[in-house]
């Protein structure tokens, strides 16, 4: 009898191995890794997955209940697409969508052109020490918060004391004149990010194989031809990647820029209202959570679709530049 146990059939071995691969075995066997991943996974559940499902409030007439989230959900009544109907029949929907899209298109274009320009120019400057100094200075705004930038802008645009009115000998009430703000916002938004983006491109330029340039010089190519035919083509993959990321986020406005820099001034709402400020105002001051959550879901869904579309297009053109 004992001999039978020792000489196991191949099937028995396979069965034992399969049993060994069971769920419980795997969990114990991967225990340390699961522990490593656990805090992050819990965070994602509470700050991503549950909030994603919490978006059902867009289809409800939401009321906060002190008994917690599930009670709030259960007690709020379903209203179907009513919130969306209100949102899209209001004047605000078109205005905030238009503003968000146009400003972001402006930022994407300006950022791309100016950062690539600065990156190439800085890579060709003779004094490398000076380039370091330039880069360090240009990074400063990137590291500061919008609140601080708001104070900076205030120092220039304050109607009574600001530097701009003093220097131009004008008396413009900047925070009440909508016509200047598209330019101001485009300028500030681009200015803050140029340092970071240009360093990103700069690093890529410096990583280009120098033999390309040597060969081009031997062949008699001048600087402009080298930039056009070597540097820029080498930058294209990164430019595409950055643009997909930006287009995927085109429905998401920089809340800090649009909320703090214009000092939330009522006279400027037509040119400073974007999706994010609208959602925030709905959530806090007007207390209209239904409309606000509808706008929020609208923003997320369109943003996600845009990201998928741009990525699909890029993957078809050049699969190496695609995000996933």
């Amino acid at each position: 009898m004992e001999e039978n146990n020792v000489a196991q059939s191949p099937e028995a071995i396979a069965a034992a191995a399969k049993k060994k691969e069971g769920l419980w075995y795997n969990i114990v066997h991967n225990g340390p890794f699961l522990l490593f991943a656990l805090p992050g996974a819990i965070w994602m559940i509470f700050f991503f997955y549950i909030p994603v499902f919490a978006n059902v409030v867009a289809f409800k007439e939401f009321q906060f209940s002190p008994d917690g989230f599930l009670a709030s959900l259960a007690q709020s009544k379903w209203v179907g697409f009513q919130n969306f109907k209100f949102l899209f029949t209001s004047d605000a929907a078109w205005l905030i969508t238009k503003n968000t899209l146009l400003y972001n298109l402006g930022f994407i274009t300006l950022n791309l052109i100016i950062s690539v320009f600065f990156a190439i120019v800085m890579s060709e400057l003779r004094h490398k020490r000076l380039v370091k100094v330039y880069q360090t200075s240009m990074l400063l705004p990137y590291f500061l918060s919008w609140v601080i930038i708001g104070y900076f802008v205030m120092a220039f645009l304050n109607p009574d004391k600001g530097l701009l009115n003093t220097m131009l000998h004008t008396n413009i009430n900047w925070y009440a004149e909508p016509k200047y703000w598209p330019f101001i916002l485009l300028f500030i938004g681009t200015w803050k990010g140029i340092g970071y983006n240009s360093i990103l491109y700069f690093a890529t330029v410096m990583g280009i194989d120098p033999t390309y340039y040597e060969a081009a010089t031997v062949d008699g190519a001048n600087k402009w031809q080298q930039i056009k035919n070597i540097t820029i083509p080498q930058l294209v993959p990164l430019m595409t990647l950055m643009s997909i990321l930006a287009v995927g986020n085109i429905f998401r406005a920089d809340f800090g820029l649009f909320y703090t820099v214009p000092q939330n001034s009522g006279a400027l709402y037509n040119v400073t209202s974007v999706l994010d400020t609208y959602i925030y105002n709905g959530l806090t001051s007007t207390g209209d959570i239904g409309m606000s959550s509808a706008a929020s879901l609208y923003q997320s869904v369109v943003g996600c679709i845009l990201l998928l579309i741009t990525n699909a297009i890029v993957r078809r053109l050049d699969s190496d530049s695609a995000l996933f």
Partner: protein, 306 residues
Amino acid sequence: MKKKKKIDSVTVHSFSRGTDLFFNIIVGIFALSCLLPLFFVIVISLTDENALATYGYRLWPKVWSFAGYKYLATMGGELLRSLWISVLVTVVGTVINSTFTSTYAYAISRSSFKYRRFFTVFCLVTMLFSPGMVANYIVVTNMLHLKDTLWALILPMAVSPFNIIVMRTFFKRQVSESIIESARIDGASEMRIFTQIVIPLAVPGIATISLFAALGYWNDWFNALLYIQSDNLVPLQYLLMKIQSNIEMLSQNASSGTQFGGSLMAIPKEATRMAMVVIATLPIACSYPFFQKYFVRGLTIGGVKE
């Protein structure tokens, strides 16, 4: 005898002298424009209050004064409390963020982790879609009940999915499987491998994500705007924001002639406000040039794709 013209890596990238000067001026002007506002705000903070009232903000004041900073010392409590909250949130938040981000990234970077695909996708999905401000607000206030607690300033930024993906690539590149394998054959536990072998090898990457996290926490005012009502929990950036919005309310109501109750906090004078801006800015302005290489490396280590 004329020396042959040498082409080396230095001369590969360089303009001719004239062009060089021209572009130096352009880049130089832009670089100055990035430093000017901070300089300007420092100057305003050192200007005499009466001179400010008469001549407005000037790049070089008529009368210098330290009164702004002296007044800061007298207002003490409120400012110190905000400073303390900012420092506390930054320190605790950075430790939590860098720990959770790197452990998660390390787990999904190891090919012997059976569920790494699941956890990678679990993380990638969070970058595709945004749950939105309203849903996050409802979960934080109504489900986690974090409103008016310090955790509301820390937890929303406690993990960065993007940095997880960056760090995963970094671990894969920096820590070879063979080192880990040999440590395991020597009998080291996974925990020991992580703390004693992987972390020392990954210091540049961890430093980078920690710096980004610290910067994010120090500069954060948004979570405070959403979740903080108590005066005891106001971080520095949000304090500045509240002062600014109180000024607007005052000026708007002054023009419309409404009266205010005593609900508003005392608004510090111009020079003092700018002194507060300087205090919120200086820690970053003084330290980032030294950490710059980590930030820049962070951009390049993070070839997100394999």
